[in-house]
Amino acid sequence: MTSVASPEPAAGRREVRPGGWLAWLGATDHKRIGLLTLGTSLVLLFLMGVLALLMRSQLAQPDEHVFDPHTYNQLFTIHGSGMIYLVLTPFAIGLGVYLVPLQIGAPAIALPRTTLLAYWLYAVGAVVMLSGFATTGGAHASGWFSYPPLADSEYEPGAGSDLWIAGVVMSAVGMILMGWAVLWTALRKRPDGMTMLRMPVFTWSMVATCLMVVGAFPSLLAAMALLAVGRGDPSVFASNVWNIGYQHLFWFYGHPVVYVMFFPYLGAVSEVLAVFSGRRFFGYKGTVLSLLAFAGLSMSVWGHHMFTTGQAADDYYSLMSIVLLIPAGVEYFGMLGTILSGRLRLRTPMLFALAFIPQFLIGGLTGIMVGTPVVDYHVTDSYFVVAHLHYVLFAGSAFGLFAAVYFWFPKATGMMLDERLGKLHFWLAVAGANLTFLPMFGLGYLGMPRRVSTYSPFDGFGRLNLLASIGAGILALSMAVFAVNIIGTLNRRALHGSEHQAPDDPWEGHTLEWATSSPPPSLNFTPEHPLPPIGSFAPLLDLREQAGPAVPGQAEGPA
C-alpha cells in the first residue's frame, strides 16, 4: 500500500505559484519547464521542416537554380543540425521532464533549477546556431557531422561555423543536465510503492535514454572542443590522427543520439498502444530488459558510420550492429502482443502509434543492411542512407512524437485536440512520408550521392526526385493541418478562459498522470487528486479491473 506522497504545505505557508509570463521564464515546476522545451522544439520542427521543403524544391528536377550551392549547403547543414540537436533530442528529453515525475507519482522533478538552466542553455543555443544565417558568410555549411578538415577555418572561415559550434555545445550541455535530472528523478524520487519494476514503460524508456545521454553526449563536447581548437590552429588537422580521431569522438555520440531520438518515442507509442488496446502493455519485463540491453549495444556500434574510412574495426561494428536486431525484435514482440490481444480503439494517437510499427520497421531493417559492410560500401553516403535515416527518425520517431502530442495534449492543457483534423493530419503524413522517402532508397541504389545541391539530366534521377518532392509537399500540408489543430485549440482555450473541456482521464489511461487533473496542479498530486495505490506499472487499469467489468466506451472525452 502507499501513503499519500503529496506533501501538505507547512502550516502557515500557502502554496504559491508565480503568475504571468515572466514567471514562466523562471519556472521550476517541471511541467512548465517541460512545456517550454516541448513548445520550443515543436516550433523549431516547423522551421527545420521549411528548410527541407526548400531543399526538395531545389532537387525536384535536374539542374535547377533555385538556390546556389553555397546556400543549399547551409540549408542541409542546418536542417540536419536543427532536427537532431534542436528538435528531436530536446523534445524527447522534454517529454521526460514533463511526464516522469507524474508517472512515478512524484510532486516535482529532481534538480529543478538545473533543469530550468538546461532549458535556457538549449533555447539560447538554438538562437546562437541559427544566427549564423545572419552573418556575412552565412550559416555553417559543412554538414551536421561537420568533419574536419572541411569544417576547419581554412576551408570554412566564416563566423557562422563558430556560432554553430557554440550553439551545439550550449544545447548539448543543456541536454546533459536535463537528462541527468530526469534520470535522478526516476532513480531517487519515487514514492513508497513505486518500485523500479512498477515504473511505466515510458519511464523506463527515459531511464535508458538518459543513461545514453550521460554516457555519450560528453563525447560530442570533446568533438566540438577539438573542432574549436582546430579552427584556432588548423595545423591540428594536418595530421590524420585528429581527422580520424574527430570521427570517433563524433560518432561515439552520433550513434547513441539516434537512440536518444528513438526510445522516448517508442515508449510513448507503447503507452498509447496499451491504452487504446484496453490492456496492460504485453511483455513488460522483456521490454525493460531489452531497452537496457539495446541502449548498451547502441554505445558499441558507432563505427558502422566509418566503414569506408578504411580505418575502423569493421567486423566488430558489424557484429554489434546485427546483434541489435535481438532487443529490437523483443520490442516488437511486446508491441504486437499488445495489439493482437487487445480491444482496439482507433483514435488519433493510436493511428500514429500503429503506423509507427511498420514504418519504423522499414528503417530498422534497412539499418541492418547498412550495418553490413558489403552493402554499406555501396549505399553509404548515398540517398539510400538518407532514406533509412528518415524512415527511422521521421516515419518512426516523429510519428511517435505526433502520437505523444495527441495523447498527452489534453493532460497538459486541459483541452482535447480536434479529432477530425487529427485524422486528416495522420493520413496526409502517412502518404507524404512514404512518398517522400521510399523513392530515396532507389535513388541511392542507382548512385545518387547525398548532400548534392543538384544533379544532371543524364543521371536518370529526375523521376524519383520529383516523386520525393511531391511527397514533401504533402508532408508540408500535413504539418499545416497539425499547426492549425494546435493553434486553434490553444486559441479556443485563450478565448474561453479556464473552461475545461478535457476530463482527468479522457482515454481510460493506465498510468498515474491520468489520476490527477488536466492540467495537473503544481505539486501534481493533492488531497483532491491523491495518488492511487500502486501495485503494478498500470495502477489505474488495476483499479478499474478491481472495480468490475468495464463498460466499453466509458469515460471517453468528447471527440
Partner: protein, 230 residues
Amino acid sequence: MTHRQVFGQVFTVESAIAGAVFVAVLGLLLYSVVRRRAAAGATPSQRAELPGPEKFYVGVLIAVAAFLVAWTAWQNHRETHEHAAGAPVVVDVTAYQWCWAFTYPGDGGGSPSAPPPTTPPTAPQSPCLAGHYPTLVVPTGRTVRVRITSADVIHSLWVPELRYKMDAFPHHVNTFTLTVDRQGRWIGRCAEFCGERHYAMHFWFKAVSPRQYAAWAHSHSGTGQAGASA
C-alpha cells in the same frame, strides 16, 4: 566484378529476409486492426506475458543474428581479399577540391615505393569545372590496386556500378583492390561532402581489354595526366 557479385548476393539475401519480416509484421498489424477492433467485438486479454513463446522467439532472433554475422563477415572478407591472377596494376588517386587526379606509377611487380602524389596537377583549372571528367583506366581480368589520398579535405571515390566506395583522407593512404570482368565505361562520383562543388566532382571509370590497356599505358608511360581518356 567481385565487389558487385558479393554485394548482389548479400543485398538479395538481406532484402529477402527484410521483406519476409516486414510482410509478417504488417500482416499481424492488419489482423489486429481488422479483427481486434472494439467495433468487431473483441475482448482484451489480461495475460501479462507469454514467457515460453517469447524465449523461443528470442532463440530464433539469436539464430538469425548469428547467421547474418557469420555469413556477412565471410562475404566481407571474400570481397576484400580476393585476387585475380597476375601482378596487380597500381593506380594512384588523389582527390582534391573539386576533381580527381589519376596516376599510374608502373605496372605490377610488388608495391611501388612512392606514395601517391598529394598535390593535384597544376592545371589552370580543374578539368571537372569544364565538364571534362577525368577517366580512371583499368584492364579487365587483372587485380587493380587503388591507392587513394586527398590533397585537402575528405572525399570518397564511388563507382556505383562496382558497388564499392572508399574514402580519400588527407595525410593518409587507403588501399583497396578490385577486379573488373567486362569492358565498359561507368560514371564515378565523390561520396563524401567536400564543399561547394561536391555535386560536380565526377569521373569516368573505364575498363578495357588487357591489350588495349597495354597500348594505352605505353602511350601514357610513367605518370598519366588527369583527364586522360583511352
